[in-house]
């Protein structure tokens, strides 16, 4: 079945970087981009048990007469036939419904603030809601176009981390790009993680695709993030520990995205992983 990535196009230099990143991602994993050029600053995404209203900033409506041409040009350069998504249904006259049956979605770090405010350490609440509710992983692109030469999966043993590892193996298999696994041992030894891998039947995949498994037993989590190659696609699970633990100890995703500027592929709790 055709793998699709949903991309909201912003007709600005920053939007161009993001689309280039999506095109690169699609080329690597054999997906095709479905581009949405917004006509309104808001749209709804109806998930299985939640509805998320995505409020875009005004920059998404920049120069609507050239938006389609600019996106088409980049897509053709990338070797894709342009495919634009036109919403069929509207909850209100200025509130289109966007389908949620994609395989991936590309988001900047925030889709509701002006680009001037977007920086490391900030993921907008809408992006969080999408990650929490979606069945697809969310690609949070780096601020500038940055081709990746390796894949890094953060594996901490949680259910979502297992899903992230499965996805990492799948992307490594499809793209032929080497996979590194990073584990920050939290008072646990390697055997515990190996048992999880064994229990999840991921031993074979690890042997086939994982180039290196870095287990950090010293240093803080933030310090060890320096070891992540700058040109690597980082795959991680998010919101896998439950709300209370995330509030008390902080989410790993929030820590990672606030420290590194790599492209992030975030796997939420609703994602159903296949290898």
């Amino acid at each position: 079945m055709e793998t699709q990535l949903f991309h909201i196009f912003r007709n600005t230099p920053l939007g161009r970087e993001t689309l280039l990143q999506s095109i690169y991602f699609c080329k690597k994993i054999g997906a095709s981009p479905a581009i949405y050029i917004p006509k309104f600053t808001k749209f709804l995404m109806y998930f299985e048990n939640d509805v998320v209203q995505v409020d875009l900033d005004e920059s998404y409506l920049t120069a609507p007469n050239t938006a389609s041409d600019h996106a088409t040009e980049l897509l053709l350069q990338g070797g894709f036939n342009p495919r634009f998504l036109e919403p069929k249904n509207y909850t209100a006259s200025t509130l289109p419904d966007i389908p949620t049956n994609f395989d991936f979605m590309c988001c900047p770090r925030s889709i509701s603030d002006l680009s001037s405010k977007i920086g490391l350490g900030y993921i907008g609440p809408r992006v969080r809601r999408i990650v929490t509710s979606a069945r697809f992983p969310v690609l949070i692109s780096s601020p500038v176009y940055k081709p990746w030469k390796s894949i890094t999966v953060f594996f901490g043993g949680s259910a979502n981390a297992v899903k992230a590892l499965r996805l990492g193996c799948r992307i490594s298999r499809v793209s032929g790009i080497p996979l590194d696994v990073f584990t920050h041992a939290e008072n646990r030894n390697k055997e515990v993680y190996e048992k999880i891998i064994q229990k999840e039947n991921l031993e074979e995949d690890m042997a086939l695709y994982a180039d290196k498994w870095h287990i950090f037993e010293k240093g803080t989590f933030e310090e060890n993030l320096y070891e992540v190659p700058h040109d690597s696609l980082v795959i991680l699970g998010a919101f896998g520990h439950g709300l209370i633990k995330d509030i008390v100890f902080g989410s790993k995703m929030e820590k990672i995205q606030s420290v590194i500027s790599n492209n992030l592929l975030i796997v939420g709790p609703k994602y159903t992983a296949t290898t």
């Binding site: 079945m1 055709e2 095709s32 600053t41 808001k42 709804l44 109806y46 048990n49 939640d50 509805v51 209203q53 409020d55 036939n81 495919r83 069929k88 249904n89 509207y90 909850t91 209100a92 006259s93 200025t94 509130l95 419904d97 389908p99 049956n101």
Partner: protein, 560 residues
């Protein structure tokens, strides 16, 4: 999670939702009273006409800039969500319309608080259902509980809340829905009775109705139907006109509000939700003559269209009641003028019947009109003329405007998917669910001889042809296409599939609507079509599989 029984759980959640939506309705009611009292001293001042403008502008700014929702009363949004997305509603909708409608109505805009509380109650229900991870059908029931609780609370009318929800919001009467929604209605009503007393909103003295009054009701029904159509069309045209004005949304709302304020200087009856005016009319205290009553009717219709059509926030329930009572009054005065010797029933009775006529006409929901008026006026003594007016008015309106005010936009866009209808069943299925993937693909440079070997292995009549290098779909071959060559073995090594394939075959995209696909199959007498995504063949979709899945889905949707 431990779930003793789904029905008990739904009843329990229904009660919680009924209480919450009842409280939301009361909060709006109390806020409106407070705001009306606060602004009362300024109403007689010369600049008071700007009050509705300020309220409508603030309401529009709040909706568009702060909570980022569109204007409108929200009931079509609830119906749309129920019919297409299992009742999923945004959390912000649980309070947004309460605040915006309070600003619009409290400042004097001609609108009602009922639709906003329906939206609020439905959203509360939807979000509580999300919290309990209920499935789509259960969530829809709980959304209905929210709407029922809100209407029951604001009118102190539990049956009207139940009937309105089943007739207008859900569009189906099933045992699964009725019990929790009834419980929510009771809970909403009880909240209202505990916190503000068991009051009948428009109580009246006993009416003595004769046959001649009942006969006159047919004329009243025609009048209310015409008024309903006028209000519906004026509202729609005001929206179109305001949409063409190149002003920001808040300024458009202010323009509408200003015009309402201007009318209100001469005819204060048009301002606000108008419950006080209704009471006066039912009690027979409306002292002005026929002409003023008729002008008042038209002015209220215009004021409502200006308020809601230009971007104010609120519903049409309360204005419909005011317009209905004015129509009833005008009609009564007219027949008294024509036949002064007949001893007609008191004009308050016609005001009351007019309300039922307009509600039934606007909503095309006669039961809602009947039960609402019975409950808010506290008696069954007018039930016979009430039935006549409601049934006749809704039938006439349906004849002139096939879709009700709430449903018109949804019907026009093909987005009203009531349970058990073709459109609803097909919308719950997708092309990808119906894909038949057992087709053997062939290439254009394959010889007929090789193809015959492929045919032997396949049990299908269709063979998609794909480009050898790119895998792109090129066309189809049907078994009938090779029949002319089958009995001529000389051709086996002379004919390539490229020569006999059909490149102009009708195709289906993965995101096409199934109802449209079925229509195309019927129109072109096709039994199956290839599904193509991004130039690649994904599988076949056949009428047999589609109808088989249709039957299964219909069974799921219609079984409790």
């Amino acid at each position: 999670m431990f779930r003793p029984d789904d029905r008990l759980l739904l009843m329990f959640i229904g009660i919680i939702v009924g209480i919450c939506s009842g409280l939301a309705a009361l909060a709006l009611n109390k806020s409106l009273v407070a705001m009306l009292e606060w602004l009362h001293p300024y109403r007689h001042l010369w600049w008071a006409f700007v009050l509705p403008a300020a309220g409508a502008a603030l309401s529009s700014l709040f909706l568009n800039k702060i909570v980022k929702e569109g204007a409108g009363h929200g009931v079509p949004e609830v119906i749309y969500s129920v019919s297409r997305y299992g009742g999923l509603l945004r959390f912000r909708s649980s309070f947004s319309r309460l605040i915006s409608s309070c600003l619009t109505i409290g400042s004097g805009g001609s609108a009602g608080p009922e639709a906003p509380v329906v939206m609020s109650g439905a959203s509360i229900g939807s979000n509580i259902a999300k919290f309990f991870s209920l499935n789509d059908r259960q969530r829809i029931t709980i959304v209905g509980c929210g709407a029922a609780g809100a209407i029951s609370s604001i009118f102190n009318a539990p049956i009207a809340g139940l009937v309105f929800t089943m007739e207008v919001i859900l569009g189906e009467w099933t045992a699964l829905n009725i019990v929790p929604i009834a419980m929510a209605s009771v809970a909403g009503t009880e909240v209202s009775r505990i916190l503000q007393g068991n009051q009948i909103p428009f109580s009246h003295r006993q009416f003595s109705i004769d046959l001649v009054d009942i006969l006159a009701c047919f004329g009243l029904a025609v009048s209310t139907a015409l008024a309903s159509i006028l209000l519906t069309r004026l509202l729609r045209s005001m929206r179109k006109i305001s949409g063409k004005v190149p002003f920001p949304l808040w300024l458009r709302a202010a323009v509408g509000g200003c015009a309402v304020g201007g009318i209100g200087i001469f005819l204060p009856v048009v301002l606000g939700e108008g419950y006080h005016s209704i009471r006066t009319m039912i009690e027979g205290g409306f002292s002005q003559g026929l002409l003023i009553a008729a002008i008042g009717t038209l002015a209220k219709i215009l004021a409502t269209a200006l308020t809601l059509g230009w971007g104010g926030s609120g519903g049409i329930f309360a204005p419909s009641l005011v317009i209905g009572s004015l129509v009833g009054l005008t009609y009564h005065r007219f027949i008294v003028l024509l036949w002064p010797s007949v001893s007609w029933v008191n004009e308050g009775c016609f005001a009351l019947l007019g309300m039922a006529g307009i509600i039934s006409g606007m909503l095309q929901a006669p039961l809602t009109g009947i039960f609402l008026i019975v409950e808010i006026t506290g008696g069954y003594d007018v039930i016979l003329p009430l039935i006549i007016v409601s049934a006749t008015s809704s039938t006439l309106c349906h004849y002139i405007e096939p879709a009700s005010f709430y449903l018109k936009e949804l019907v026009d866009k093909g987005q009203l998917l009531r349970p058990g209808t073709d459109a609803r069943v097909l919308s719950d299925l997708s092309v990808l669910e119906l894909l038949e993937k057992d087709c053997i693909t062939v290439t254009p440079n394959m010889l007929l001889r090789e193809f015959i070997e492929v045919v032997k292995k396949s049990h299908r009549n269709y063979f998609p042809v794909e480009d050898e290098k790119t895998g792109d779909f090129l066309g189809m071959i049907h078994l009938d296409d090779i029949r002319p060559y089958l009995f001529n073995p000389v051709m086996y090594d002379a004919v390539f599939l490229e020569q006999i394939m059909n490149p102009r075959v009708q195709i289906v995209r993965p995101d096409d609507d199934l109802s449209e696909i079925l229509h195309r199959m019927n129109k072109n007498r096709l039994f199956s079509m290839p599904v193509i995504g991004n130039n690649k063949f994904l599988g076949m979709i056949s009428k047999a599989t589609l109808l088989d899945q249709y039957r299964k889905e219909l069974r799921v949707q219609t079984t409790n």
